[in-house]
């Protein structure tokens, strides 16, 4: 099932031999430990989620210290407080839910490597890593793979860890990742926290510019809604092009089918949602037909016909909601949903329907 990985994760013969050796040795070593911890899966077959330190844990105080007083003071503070576990961050519930799915998968398929693999991917300094590891130990999270680049951008490392999805607080890094063809999103937490399921991973996706390309959104922005409706009806049977999160939905679908194969459809610990501003009557068919043409299933498709997404998401309670428009992200946050912004497509140039003035380029 190495189709779970993006295409260019396929390696050549020499690399394969090396990969196999490292894997076999690590497995033997891990088994010799006789620990109760689950063994990390083989990356080639796993769905790898790379989370940054600031999305996994709440590092807002420390971040402020770094911005105001610089790297040395920041690292010194982290080292001094090393034994104090950090508080959970925006991606924490998502990570716990991934772990729940893994336990269920291991019960049904004890020898399979098709699991979620969680990697801590951060440009933090390695000395801060001790506090991060202590915190991971405190919450008993199954994170065994780390990449702490000590200041360099971690984007170049995403492919080395065979990343399927990258979550960060830094939108520039997320944008770079998307440009490299890796599904990525900027995480936002909310002050109000909805109670989330601890038995089922629930993931909500926007449609255009997230699962699908922004081709239709361009039409709305440039020519208005009426043209958009006509266009969608006319091209109902032409599949939309892929968006940045399509592969992640695909990976989730593959894991879901493993549960269906063991008669666990009613009890599946993964549930996916499409939450789109499209309306079912006028532009919904194309979306559903596109998904079908890709061989993908989505558990619930919710067409809002332009209504705000916040209240609906509050009912759905996803562990993560992906959308390309900040307007929807803010709406979700206001009502307690953990939202992840996908900085892709024409939506980035608009806010609430109006063209944004181009910002001064940052350093």
């Amino acid at each position: 099932m190495s189709e779970i990985k993006p295409d260019d994760a396929v390696a050549d013969g020499a690399q394969d031999a090396g990969e196999e050796k490292d894997w076999v040795a690590a497995k033997a070593f891990f088994d010799s430990l006789k620990t109760k911890k689950p063994r990390p899966p083989k990356p080639r077959y796993a769905v790898t989620i790379a989370v940054s330190s600031r999305t996994l844990f709440n590092l807002s105080e420390e971040r402020k210290l770094y911005e105001e007083e610089g790297l040395e003071k920041y690292v010194a503070y982290q080292v001094e407080h090393e034994s104090e576990p950090l508080k959970p961050g925006a991606a924490f519930p998502f990570v716990k839910a991934l772990m729940t799915v893994n336990s269920r998968l291991r019960e049904l398929y004890p020898d399979s490597e098709e699991l979620f693999d969680i990697v801590l991917m951060t440009n933090n300094h390695a000395q801060v890593g001790v506090r991060l590891i202590n915190s991971i130990n405190h919450y008993d999270l199954t994170i065994e793979r780390f990449c702490m680049t000590g200041g360099q951008s971690p984007i170049g490392y995403l492919k080395a860890y065979m990343t399927n999805l990258y979550l960060s607080k830094d939108s520039e890094k997320v944008q770079e990742a998307i440009e490299e063809g890796i599904a990525a999103a900027t995480m936002f937490s909310s002050d109000v926290e909805n109670q989330l399921s601890d038995t089922q991973l629930r993931v909500a996706f926007d449609g255009d510019a997230v699962l699908f390309s922004d081709e239709s959104e361009i039409i709305v922005k440039k020519h208005g809604l009426d043209t958009f409706f006509e266009h969608e009806k006319e091209f109902e049977n032409k599949p939309l092009a892929q968006g940045p999160l399509k592969c992640f939905l695909e990976a989730l679908g593959k894991l879901q089918r493993k549960f269906y194969a063991k008669n666990q459809r009613m009890n599946c610990p993964i549930r996916t949602f499409l939450v789109t501003a499209r309306s079912a009557a006028s532009s919904g068919a194309r979306v559903l037909k596109t998904l079908r043409s890709w061989g993908l299933e989505i558990d619930e498709a919710l067409f809002l016909a332009g209504a705000p997404k916040g209240p609906l998401l509050q009912k759905i309670r996803p562990h993560i909601f992906f959308d390309d428009q900040m307007f929807h992200i803010e709406g979700a946050q206001e009502l307690g949903t953990i939202a992840a912004h996908v900085p892709y497509g024409i939506g980035q140039k608009y806010h609430k329907g109006k063209l944004i003035e181009q910002p001064r380029s940052k350093k």
Partner: protein, 285 residues
């Protein structure tokens, strides 16, 4: 019979600094520094030529930051290159390489030659040589050719920062576990030798690293754990700290493939764990 010769006509006072008692002697394979296939005079630069320049650059900066800091002392080891002796020596002078000694030897006896010197670390791009050296009690590590080339307009040969990659497995993995994991006696022996040589090297690197700030240091230290996972990584980080070494970067693979990651890290010196042949690192070949 191995032969030694001092570099001739070295006038700069900086060279004299290198003869200090706390000089850390590294032996670098001549095949890395020069391209000995082409019969040019002076020899053309080899894949790791810029490494020597980087070492010199670090020495200069260390001497400025802390007069008591240990410095690198470079010996050039030339295997089976007896007939090129004078070309090699004159080439080093031509390029301004600060080589304190030359060691000309054969493939059969090179480990013995190294043993008879006070070399603290032998660096070669050939994994076979590194393994052999370790197995015969000579501290050794891999010298990695750089696949990243300097950008247009970069001052020629400036390689900064110099990156040293230490093995988190060698530091953090308990040995008893390794024999249970099915490694052979020879592999365990090489592991112990690799661990010992790396430990001494790490202590010196620690002293040097402390002369520089966290940011913009010309010397950076990374730690990579291939077999171990979270606990071994934490153990390695803390052990390194006990040695006075605060590593800059840390990578924990827990069995994930090391090749692509090494390509990203681009270390110059790779202290390998000795557990099995590292030839499957296409990024470095």
């Amino acid at each position: 019979m191995p032969s030694f010769s001092l570099a001739h006509n070295v006038k700069n006072t900086f060279f004299l600094l290198q003869m200090r008692s706390n000089a850390f002697e590294i032996a670098v394979s001549c095949h890395a520094v020069f391209d000995t296939n082409l019969r040019t005079d002076p020899l053309s630069k080899g894949v790791a030529f810029s490494f020597i320049k980087a070492i010199q650059d670090i020495n200069e900066k260390l001497a400025v930051k802390n007069p008591k800091s240990p410095l690198f002392n470079v010996i050039l080891v030339a295997k089976d290159l007896q007939e090129h002796q004078s070309t090699i020596v004159s080439s080093t002078q031509h390029y301004g390489l600060q080589i304190s000694r030359f060691c000309f030897c054969n493939n059969e006896n090179f480990t013995q030659s190294l043993q008879s010197t006070s070399v603290k670390l032998f660096l070669s791009m050939q994994t076979d040589d590194v393994c052999r050296a370790l197995q015969e009690g000579v501290p050794a590590a891999l010298l990695c050719p750089q696949t990243r080339f300097p950008a247009e307009g970069d001052k020629e040969e400036v390689v900064s920062p110099l990156k040293v990659l230490l093995s988190g497995d060698a530091i953090g993995l308990p040995e008893e576990r390794l024999s249970e994991a099915g490694f052979s006696q020879l592999e365990l022996q090489t592991f112990r030798a690799a661990k010992a040589s790396m430990t001494e090297f790490a202590l010196v690197i620690a002293e040097m690293r402390r002369c520089f700030d966290r940011e913009d240091s010309p010397l950076r230290v990374a730690l990579m754990t291939v077999l171990g996972s979270r606990d071994e990584m934490a153990s390695a980080l803390l052990t390194a700290r006990d040695w006075g070494l605060e590593v800059d970067e840390a990578y924990c693979l827990a069995g994930a493939s090391r090749g692509p990651l090494l390509n990203c890290i681009q270390p110059h010196i790779l202290c390998y764990d000795g557990l099995y042949n590292v030839t499957e690192i296409p990024a470095l070949s």
